[in-house]
């Protein structure tokens, strides 16, 4: 799945948790992705090149670590 599309989807989730402290928000984003995303979408997220992940919302970036661990 296209990186831009995946980035858009995860960023849309991340901004919803902007009211939470970063570690909590990251956990919320990760939980949402693990609960609702099909494995190939998670894989695409985790396989995004570094340059692309740098563009992600900071909560989404922090969530990547948790998703990688949880997945």
């Amino acid at each position: 799945m296209a990186d831009a599309r995946i980035a858009r989807l995860v960023n849309d989730i991340a901004v919803q948790f902007a009211h939470q402290p970063l570690p909590v928000a990251a956990e919320s984003v990760a939980r949402h992705v693990i609960t609702f995303w099909e494995p190939r979408m998670r894989a695409a997220l985790l396989a995004m090149p570094a340059a692309a992940t740098e563009e992600l919302d900071e909560r989404a970036k922090a969530a990547l670590v948790l998703i990688r661990r949880g997945g």
């Binding site: 989807l9 989730i13 919803q16 609702f36 099909e38 190939r40």
Partner: protein, 931 residues
């Protein structure tokens, strides 16, 4: 006509804790105080002749036929308007009464055509019955006097005729339009002998305000208002009780037939959802089921550019099974998936998701709720613990304050709207939050509601501001919050923030702060306040947030867990609740249980004999994305036209065209079928055997009126596909599918066809704790234990108006058409809506030189289309509106693939657009996709 085969007790039931005992013709009868003598007599088994009275309408006392004598009282009062009294002794028959009744009947007959044998109401005429009962044998008045026998018939309405020569001026039609439907389209014009029923101010029915709900036809005791189908075919001879297949109200109907030919659909007085009422779609628009466009045999083609080839069932099913397996062998188990239909039965949906999970061995199943109410599922599960409306429809009758957000019930859910308007006429307060001034804002005999015309996309900000007002003005129900809810402190800290104040939100939402505060005070004061909402809530990038925001508001004011309150999604399609209940979401098994739950999976693994995947599958928009990247290559689409209904048509059709195998199961060659390799003919609701679940969680029986015209039920076809793929699946009959649902799904544990036959319908949860179902949820506890407050920050949509696209388009539905119009476009309903139009404010129109009726080009960042403009001052400046009922317009060529953050429900309600006059020399283009 009267409700055939259903007793008419003359006047409506009354409820009272006080019981009155009386004698009618010496027979003792006990009834609630306030009951009429006419009804008490009927309950005692004693029929009193009547014409102007019927038990769906308040007593009127005009026909003077239901006269009685009462011991100790003078005169002969009308029993319909006479309330019972303790110890009353009533006589319904005496020489005097007989003489009076014969005299009245004689007057009626003196101005009535005596063509009974050839009259379409013959066999169903109350006047004929009454004349027989009173023993009228001659009419003494000469037939040379003034009469109405030559009055002109009005045949303008496509579904019923109005023949004033047969009218007895009983006003039942007028009262039905007023009391039942609440449209007030009919009146009695003139006085005395000149009294005549009139639609509007003397127009014909088609041109009047009549909404063709059929209530007047239902109420008419003669052939004055008569279905054209009865005029043409004659009276029906048998009845099958079933459920409408249009909107999420789920009206019960009596399908009346001659043999297997459907003559008319009559709303069932005992229907739990509709209580004898109907709308133009359910009552009349069933002709699509026998339309010549119906596909009745399977069709195949190798490539989507080939011609269709009609084949037998064995070849079609063998082809589908083999090709799906080949795709999986080559591209992996996850390369195929299915979309269930919210127009099919629970049983049909259940077998599709079983096929996906057990035969496809993945969770790639989704449903049309993805593009409508998936945020309801997410939001209500997070806050209350389950995805369902909290009330039954009758609950609105106890509401003191009714909040309608992002819904247009008079068009989308008309039978429920009639019930709501009745409560509003009784004095309930109304708050409407909608960019458009929908009809409900000002309906006849209802005080104008408080209209909050918010900017599209600002729902969350508005509801947060209402909750802010509740909390900061000390209007919260602290006891309810303390006893029933959790995580309040964090939410309270969030909602008290200045950015959530009405003053901060006013500019964002375009609603004055004082109006927001007024709404908050009204809602909090209740005492019974209810929220009803529709797709104007869910189809936003913050749809799920908004559902949670409304749930927060209901909890903080204690408006959950009793009659008259609650959070009520008005579901779009007839079985969208059921399709979600049955496990159509890619992350949930039936009963909204996550696929990762080992205990739940083991139940289904035992029942289905296969190991099930613990990972969520692809959602519908994910399937499109995956189709374009080549990892998703085969799709089974049951009864949904995703090429017309889903947003960003270019993206959708490109994805469909990329598939190796697209299997469509539908009644017609729809837009999606243009990209299909296999078309499997589906069955209409008249052929189905199963259940639908409506927006109030009510499970209704759908009984076959006729055998499947295709030779197979849809669930049988799905079972045969699964079997062809090497996973044997079969059921002897649909009741066995429901038995499996009950055995595997706790909320359905008590449901069976036998129970539904016995009770008529039940609302889930239906189990040992609630053997007769659950009309109102969360009464003692929430499903999740305690209600959970969730902070709901307002995150604006990324879709913004610009100089190039300065207007915001929002889309919706109208009364006479349904969804993509596949059904209603194939009925006479097209007389009311032959094409989709663009509603635009006069100022926006003038700026662009657009006049009413001009053809305009509507363009967005993703595409453009052409349609006719309608100048409408109910639109706010800067916002335009259209519907998506007609494929020729293809409104979704302009909508984007922005979506709700939690569920990917598309943001249909906010698209930045431009409108321009179509150049005169330019031919009308096909719906066009932008570069």
């Amino acid at each position: 006509m009267t409700l055939s085969g259903q007793p008419d007790l003359g006047t409506p039931a009354r409820s009272s804790e006080s019981v009155v005992e009386l004698l009618v013709d010496g027979i003792a009868v006990s009834v609630p105080a306030g009951t009429s003598v006419l009804r008490a007599a009927a309950l005692a088994g004693i029929g009193i002749p009547k014409l102007c009275a019927t038990d769906s309408l308040e007593p009127f006392g005009s026909c003077r036929l239901c006269l009685v004598e009462v011991d100790g009282k003078r005169g002969t009062p009308a029993s319909c308007t006479l309330p019972v009294a303790p110890g009353m002794s009533v006589r319904t028959q005496s020489e005097k009464l007989a003489r009076l009744r014969r005299g009245v009947a004689e007057l009626y007959i003196s101005d009535h055509p005596l063509d009974c044998l050839t009259c379409p109401a013959n066999g169903g005429c109350e006047l004929q019955d009454v004349v027989g009962v009173v023993g009228l044998r001659e009419v003494r008045y000469p037939d040379t006097g003034a009469n109405h026998l030559e009055a002109e018939r009005d045949t303008s309405n496509p579904y019923f005729d109005f023949d004033p020569s047969k009218c007895i001026a009983c006003s039942r039609c007028v009262r039905a339009c007023d009391e039942v439907q609440g449209t007030f389209a009919l009146t009695i014009m003139g006085r005395g002998f000149d009294s005549a029923v009139s639609a509007g101010a003397g127009e014909n029915f088609l041109d009047s305000e009549c909404v063709s709900c059929g209530a007047c036809v239902q109420a008419c005791p003669t052939a004055t208002l008569q279905e054209k189908s009865v005029v043409q075919l004659g009276m029906p001879t048998r009845v099958v009780n079933t459920t409408c297949a249009y909107c999420g109200v789920g009206c019960s109907f009596r399908a009346e037939l001659r043999g297997t030919e459907l003559v008319r659909m009559v709303p069932d007085k005992d229907g739990g959802a509709n209580a004898g009422h109907s709308c133009v779609k359910g009552r009349f628009a069933f002709g699509y089921a026998s339309h010549p466009d119906r596909v009745l045999a399977p069709m195949l083609r190798e490539r989507i550019t080939d011609e269709w080839r009609e084949v037998g069932w064995d070849e079609a099913i063998g082809f589908v099974g083999r090709r799906f397996r080949e795709i999986q062998d080559r591209h992996g188990l996850g390369a195929i998936g299915a979309i269930t239909s919210s127009r099919t039965t629970n049983e049909e949906v259940y077998v599709v998701q079983r096929m996906v999970r057990a035969a496809f061995a993945n969770n790639n199943v989704d449903t049309c709720a993805r593009v409508c109410h998936s945020p309801t599922g997410y939001g209500l599960k997070q806050t209350f613990g389950t995805s369902a409306g909290t009330q039954d429809f009758a609950s609105v009758g106890k509401s003191d304050v009714i909040v309608v957000i992002g819904a247009n019930p008079t068009d989308g859910h008309p039978v429920f709207a009639a019930r709501m308007k009745r409560r509003l006429r009784q004095g309930a307060k109304l708050i409407v939050a909608d960019p458009r001034r929908i009809d409900l804002v000002r309906s006849p005999h209802v005080e104008p509601g408080l209209h909050l015309p918010l900017r599209p996309g600002t729902n969350v900000a508005l509801v947060n501001a209402i909750a802010h007002t509740v909390v900061t003005e000390g209007l919260a129900d602290e006891e309810f919050v303390a006893q029933r809810c959790e995580e309040f402190a964090d939410w309270q800290e969030f909602i008290r923030r200045p950015e959530n104040s009405p003053e901060s939100v006013a500019e964002i939402a375009g609603v004055p702060a004082e109006d927001i505060r007024t709404a908050a005070r009204l809602y909090a004061a209740g005492p019974n306040s209810a929220i009803y909402y529709g797709l104007g809530v869910t189809e936003h990038s913050q749809g799920s947030t908004m559902v949670m925001a409304m749930a927060n508001l209901a909890m903080v004011t204690g408006n959950i867990g009793r009659e008259g309150v609650g959070i009520n999604p008005l579901r779009g399609q007839n079985n969208v609740q059921g399709s979600c209940d049955m496990g159509s979401f890619p992350h949930e098994l039936p009963g909204y249980r996550h696929v990762s739950d080992d205990a739940v999976r083991s139940i289904f693994e035992a029942a289905w004999g296969r190991t099930l995947l613990a990972e969520p599958g692809l959602r519908l928009p994910n399937m499109f994305d995956a189709a374009l990247d080549g990892s998703f290559r085969g799709m089974f689409v049951q009864g949904e036209d995703i090429a017309q209904s889903d947003p960003n048509t270019r993206h959708v059709t490109a994805a469909l065209a990329a598939l190796d195998l697209l299997v469509v199961q539908d009644l017609f060659v729809n837009e999606t079928a243009k990209y299909a390799h296999v078309l499997l003919p589906g069955t209409s609701f008249l052929e189905k055997d199963g259940t639908f679940t409506n927006a109030e969680r009510r499970i209704n029986r759908v009984r076959p009126v006729m055998p499947p015209r295709t030779g197979k039920h849809e669930w049988q076809i799905v079972c045969e596909i699964a079997t062809a793929m090497g996973y044997p699946m079969s059921y002897p009959e649909p009741s066995e599918i429901m038995a499996e649902i009950a055995a595997t799904t706790p909320t359905f544990a008590g449901v069976s066809f036998d129970l539904l036959d016995k009770l008529g319908s039940v609302q889930w949860p239906c189990n040992a704790a609630a053997p007769n179902g659950t009309p109102i949820m969360h009464v003692e506890n929430f499903v999740r234990g305690k209600g959970r407050f969730v902070p709901t920050p307002y995150v604006p949509t990324s879709e913004r108006s610009t100089r190039r696209f300065p207007l915001i388009l929002t889309t919706g539905r109208i009364l006479s058409q349904y969804n993509v119009g596949a059904q209603t476009r194939r009925t006479a309903n097209v007389v009311w809506h032959a094409e989709d139009v663009l509603e635009i404010h006069p100022h926006d129109a003038e700026d662009r030189g657009v006049r009413d009726g001009d053809e305009v080009v509507l363009s967005s960042r993703v595409g453009q289309t052409t349609l006719r403009a309608r100048i409408a001052d109910r639109m706010p400046v800067g916002v335009v509106y259209t519907t998506f009922h007609h494929p020729v317009t293809g409104a979704n060529v302009v909508t984007t693939d922005n979506s709700d953050w939690a569920t990917n429900c598309p943001e249909y309600k906010v698209t930045a657009v431009q409108v321009a006059l179509r150049p005169v020399q330019q031919p009308a283009p096909e719906p066009l996709l932008a570069d």
